[in-house]
Point group: D2
Chain length 340, copies 4
Amino acid sequence: MRPEINKSWQMSGFGLSRLEPAEGKIPKPGSRDLLVRIKAVSLNYKDRMIVDGVLIPDLAFPFVPTSDAVGEVMAIGSEVSRFRVGQRVLGQVIADWLDGDAPPVLHKHTLGSSLPGTLSDYVLFHEDAAVVAPQSLGDVEASTLPIAALTAWFALVEATKPIPGETVLIQGTGGVSLFALQFAAAFGLRAIVTSSSDEKLERATGLGAWQVINYRAQPAWDEAARDLTDGVGVRHVLEMVGGDNARRSLNALGADGRLSVIGLLGGMELSFPIIPFLQNRIVVQGISIGHRRAFERMNEAIETLAIKPVIDKVYGFDEVPQAFEHLETGPFGKIVIAGS
Amino acid sequence: MRPEINKSWQMSGFGLSRLEPAEGKIPKPGSRDLLVRIKAVSLNYKDRMIVDGVLIPDLAFPFVPTSDAVGEVMAIGSEVSRFRVGQRVLGQVIADWLDGDAPPVLHKHTLGSSLPGTLSDYVLFHEDAAVVAPQSLGDVEASTLPIAALTAWFALVEATKPIPGETVLIQGTGGVSLFALQFAAAFGLRAIVTSSSDEKLERATGLGAWQVINYRAQPAWDEAARDLTDGVGVRHVLEMVGGDNARRSLNALGADGRLSVIGLLGGMELSFPIIPFLQNRIVVQGISIGHRRAFERMNEAIETLAIKPVIDKVYGFDEVPQAFEHLETGPFGKIVIAGS
Amino acid sequence: MRPEINKSWQMSGFGLSRLEPAEGKIPKPGSRDLLVRIKAVSLNYKDRMIVDGVLIPDLAFPFVPTSDAVGEVMAIGSEVSRFRVGQRVLGQVIADWLDGDAPPVLHKHTLGSSLPGTLSDYVLFHEDAAVVAPQSLGDVEASTLPIAALTAWFALVEATKPIPGETVLIQGTGGVSLFALQFAAAFGLRAIVTSSSDEKLERATGLGAWQVINYRAQPAWDEAARDLTDGVGVRHVLEMVGGDNARRSLNALGADGRLSVIGLLGGMELSFPIIPFLQNRIVVQGISIGHRRAFERMNEAIETLAIKPVIDKVYGFDEVPQAFEHLETGPFGKIVIAGS
Amino acid sequence: MRPEINKSWQMSGFGLSRLEPAEGKIPKPGSRDLLVRIKAVSLNYKDRMIVDGVLIPDLAFPFVPTSDAVGEVMAIGSEVSRFRVGQRVLGQVIADWLDGDAPPVLHKHTLGSSLPGTLSDYVLFHEDAAVVAPQSLGDVEASTLPIAALTAWFALVEATKPIPGETVLIQGTGGVSLFALQFAAAFGLRAIVTSSSDEKLERATGLGAWQVINYRAQPAWDEAARDLTDGVGVRHVLEMVGGDNARRSLNALGADGRLSVIGLLGGMELSFPIIPFLQNRIVVQGISIGHRRAFERMNEAIETLAIKPVIDKVYGFDEVPQAFEHLETGPFGKIVIAGS
C-alpha cells in the first residue's frame, strides 16, 4: 500500500464485468469532513442492483459503489467538532436524515447512490453523517451495521413500539432478516422465521427464533403462522419480498397487525385484498434504512445486548467480484470485504 | 302508531324489493340493555351492499338492516348504570370495541350486521354500546354520526396525530368525506377535496375546503395535488375508492405521507408500486369506524366546534326504498329516514 | 375444609390486631360473575396501609383486604362468555379499566378497596375483570402479578416506549422493583438498581442488573448514576420513594428523561427544582397499576420470556398476621399466602 | 444609518442601566452563515432575567441580549444551500435542535444566551438555524414567533397530541399564553384563560377563549375550572407560574391530565401532593421552546389559520430601555422593537 494512492473499485458502466480496480488521489477533507481509512465494507443486495443498472438507471460513471463501511478517522476538517482523529466510525447512509422526519426528498445525499460509495481505501464522511462504531464489534462485524442492521432496527424499534411477548414474522435469512431475528430475540419478541432451507431454519433457531416455517414444505406459510399463534394471527410481519408474497403476509396478520415493507426481491408491486385490510385495521409502512439518532441508539443496544452480526464470508479487497457473486446465492448473514 | 307494536323494515332475502315493512313485538330489555325509541336512522353505503347481498352473503333472514340511529331511552334493564330513561342516545356500531385495540375478531358484535339493525321503531342497545347524543344537534343530524362521522374522526384524529397546517386530501363528497372536510377545516388542516362536479366542489369550498380539484377536468388529480403543495406532496390522503385510484393517492403523497383506506367503491384490491412507497416511507392504514371512547371524544368536539352534519334529504319511515335508491345517485351529505 | 363455608380474614377495625379469621357463606355468582376458589394471595405494601388505616380512612367494616390472587373458576353466571369452569384466573385490580384511558374516576371499582378483597377461600370476579393466569407459573408465582408485575410492566412498556439499550434506574428491591428489573433485563434495557444492602444488590445483579449502587455507601446515588452513564444521565427512573428522593431522581435524569412515579414510602409530596426540569424537558408520570389489555400482554411476555417472579416467603392461610409483619421488614421479592 | 456600521444594544454588566448603545463592525458570514439585516426584535421575559443577571449569572460582557428577530438575508456564505439573498428569515433559538430529541446538553448553542443575541442591525445566523418567515405576517408580527409562539405550539401540538374538543387551561395573558390561546381556538380546543383583570379576560374572549376565570375574584380558580368541566377536570394545563400555583394546576386536572410546565415567574420549585398525581396518572412535562422542524410546521399553520400575533406596543430602536420596562407591567401580548 502506497499511502498517497487511493485504491477503489469503480464502475465504468453497468454489469459486474465493468466494476474494476482504479487508483486515484486521497481526497482532502472539507471544513466539516472526516477523512476515513476504510477497514471493511459490507455488501447489500441493492449494491448488486446498482452494479447491474437496475436501481439507478441514470448513474454517472465512473462510480464507486457500496454504502456500508467502517474505518478510522485519519484527518478532520478545520471546523469538525463531533469527532477526532483515531476514532473508528461508520457512515450514516442517508446522510441528511439526522432525526425525526426524513428530508422532503430522500436520497439526495445517500452514500453509494447520490454520493460516492465506500469501496475505496479512503473516503470522506461529513461529520454530521457519521457515528462512532460499537466497541464490542470488530471491523468486519461493525461494517455490516449501516444498512442491514439499521433497517431491521428501524422497522422493529423506531417505526413502531416493540412490546415484549408480541409475535413478529421475519421472511428469509438474509442480512436484514438475521439482524431482525437477533434484535427480536433480544427484546423478548417471539420471532417466527421462514426459509426454504431446513438447515438455515435450524441456524435461525440457534439465533433465537421462537418458531420456524419451511415455506417449501408449507407453501401456505401464512396459515402455518396463524396456527402457531392459535389462530390469532401475527402482530408484525417484515416483508422482504413484495409482489404476491405480500398477500400471504397480510393474511398472516391478526387484528391491528403491522406490515413493514423492506424488500422487493419478488416484485415491484404490492397488492392486497381490501376487506381484510380494513377489518383488521392493518398498518403497512415502507421502511428506508433510518436516521442517525436511530443509528446511535442501535449501537447502544448492540453493545448492551452483546449482539454479534452474522457473517457468512469475508473476502479480500482484491476479491470484490467474487463477493458480489456470492451475494446472489442467498448467503446466511453478511458478505464483507476486508480493507486493502 | 300503536305503542305495543314494533314496526320495522325487514329483509326476507337479498335485493331492495325484498326489504319490506314488518310488525313485531317491542323487545324486552335484558339486565344491561336500553330500550330505545328510534327517532331517526341514517343510511350508509354499506347498508345498500348488505341489502344487495354483496357484503354479507350468508346473512340469515329475516334481517333488519342499517346501523346508524338516534333515539330516546324508554326503559332500562335492572343493572343499567350508564344511562337513565329519557336520555337521547346513539348506538356504538362495533358494540364490543370500547377503547384501545379492537377485539381480536371484529364484527362479532356489530349493529346491522352480526347484531340486528336499527330500522325499527324500537331497538335494544346494550348500555356499553351507546353514547349520549350531542345536545347541539337535532335528531336528523345526530343520526348521521355513528358510522360516517366516527370513521372520518378516527382517520383524522385517533389513528394519527393531526397537526394544524398540514394538508389532507379528501376524495369525493359522500357522507364520510364531508365529515372529514368539516373536521379538517375546524382543526386547521388544509383540506383538498376532489369531485367530478364543479357544483359539489363549490359547496365543498363553502364548507371550508382549502383547494378543490375536479378530477373529470384533471384526471391526473394526483399531479394537481402535488402542484397545490408546491411539489411537496400531500401529507394525508383519505382513500374512498380503492383499486387503481389508490395508485394516484400514493403518488399524491409526500415524504412520510399517510394513506387512510376507508372506502372500496372502485375495487376490492389495493395495489401500489413499491419503490416510491419505500422511499417516502408511506404508511397505509385500514380504518374500521372506531371505538366508543373516540365516539365520546368526537361528540365533545362536534359540540365545541358547532359542526352541523350535511344532510342531503330526509325521507319518511314509509319511504325507505326511495331513500336507498337515492343513495345510489351520489348524494351530497347524508340520507336520513325519520322515525315513524 | 368444609366446602359450604367461606373462610376469610376480615378487618373489624384498623390495625393488624383487628384483622381476624371469619367464616361466611360462599357467594353466589351474578349473571356475569365467576366464582373463584382462591389458591394463593400475594401482599402489597398498600394492603398494609389499608389495614393500618392510612390509605382509606373511611373504610366500612367488616372488610376483607388484599387485591392480588389466583384461583380456579368453580362456577360461572348464566351470561358469562369469556371463561369456563376449571380455568385458572387472576383478578384485574382496577376492575373497570379494560384498555385505553382509565375511567374518569379511578378506584370506584378496585379489588380490595372499593370492592371486597381476595383474602378468602372464595371470591367473585366479574368476568370482565379477570384474565387467564400464565401457564408457565405455579399458583404462588401467579398470585404476584396483578399489582406488582402489572405496575412495573405499565411503567416500562405501556406508558412509554421501551427502546433496547436505554438505561433505567430502579429504586430498591421490593416487589415492583424486582419485576421491573426482570422485565428490563429481558427487554434489553440497561438496569441500574439501588439498595442499601450489598447482599440485595448482589442478588439484583444475578437477576440481570447492569449496574448497582449502594445508596448507603453512596448517598449521592444520583451522581453515581450520572457517572455510570458517562455523564449523560439516565433515561428513565422508577420513583419508588417520593418526597426528597425525587429530587435526586430528577438530577439522575438526562435530556428528555422520564420519571415514572410509583411509590410514596418516603413522603406524600413530590418536589423538584424547575430549571433543570425545563432544560431537560423531563416527563414525570404517575402510574396506577394498569388496564386489563396490558395485563394480557404482560402475561404473554412472561410466558415468552420465561420470567419467574421472585418470592421471598410463602405463608399458610393461618399465618396472615406474620405475613403482614414480614412485609415491614423489606423483603426481597413477594410475600405470598397460600390458599387454605 | 451608515451601512458599514453595526449598531447594537450591549450589556456591559447586569442591570438595565448597563444596557447601552454600541457600534461595531458588520460581521462577515462564515461559509454556512447568513448575514441578516434585522427588521424587528421581540422581547421575552427571559431577556429581562438575563439583563438583570438572574438567569445567567456568569455571563461574559460585553453581551448583546435578546433572541427573537426577523430580518432580511443580505449576504450568504460560500456553502449556503438552504437560503438565498433577499429572503426574510427568523432565527431558530436553540440553534442545534433541528428535529426529534434535543441535543444532550441544551443551550450550548442558544441565541441570546450561549450565542450572541439579536439586538443589532446585523447578525449572523447559521443556515441550519434559520427558517423562512411566514408571508402572511409583517415584520413586527413575525419577530414574535421564535420563542413565544414556538413554545406555545410545542406544548400544544408537538409534545402531546391535540384532540379537538378537549379542554386546555392557559394561565395569564402574556406572550406565550396568547399564542396558546390563538392556537387552541384555531385547533378546536376549548380554552379556559385565567387572569386577574376582567378587561384582559374580555380581550381573551375576543381571541377565542371558551371560558375565562378571574383568579382575583375566584382565588380557587382550580375549583372554578373543575366546575366549568362538569367536575371532570381539565385535560391540559399550561403552567406559566410554578411554585405553589402548580398545586392548583394539578388539582384542576382530570384523569390522564397533562401539565406542561413553561414558566417560573412564581417560584423556582414545583411541588405536588403525590396521591392525586398517582390516581389520575398525571403527566407533567417541561417545555423548552422547540426544534426547527416544529418551527417550520408552526409557520405553515400560522399561514393556514391566518393567525395574527397580538402586539401590545412597538418601540423604536432608540427606546430599548422603555421597552424592557414595559415588559414588567404585564403587557397584553408582545413588546416589539422596530429595527433601526
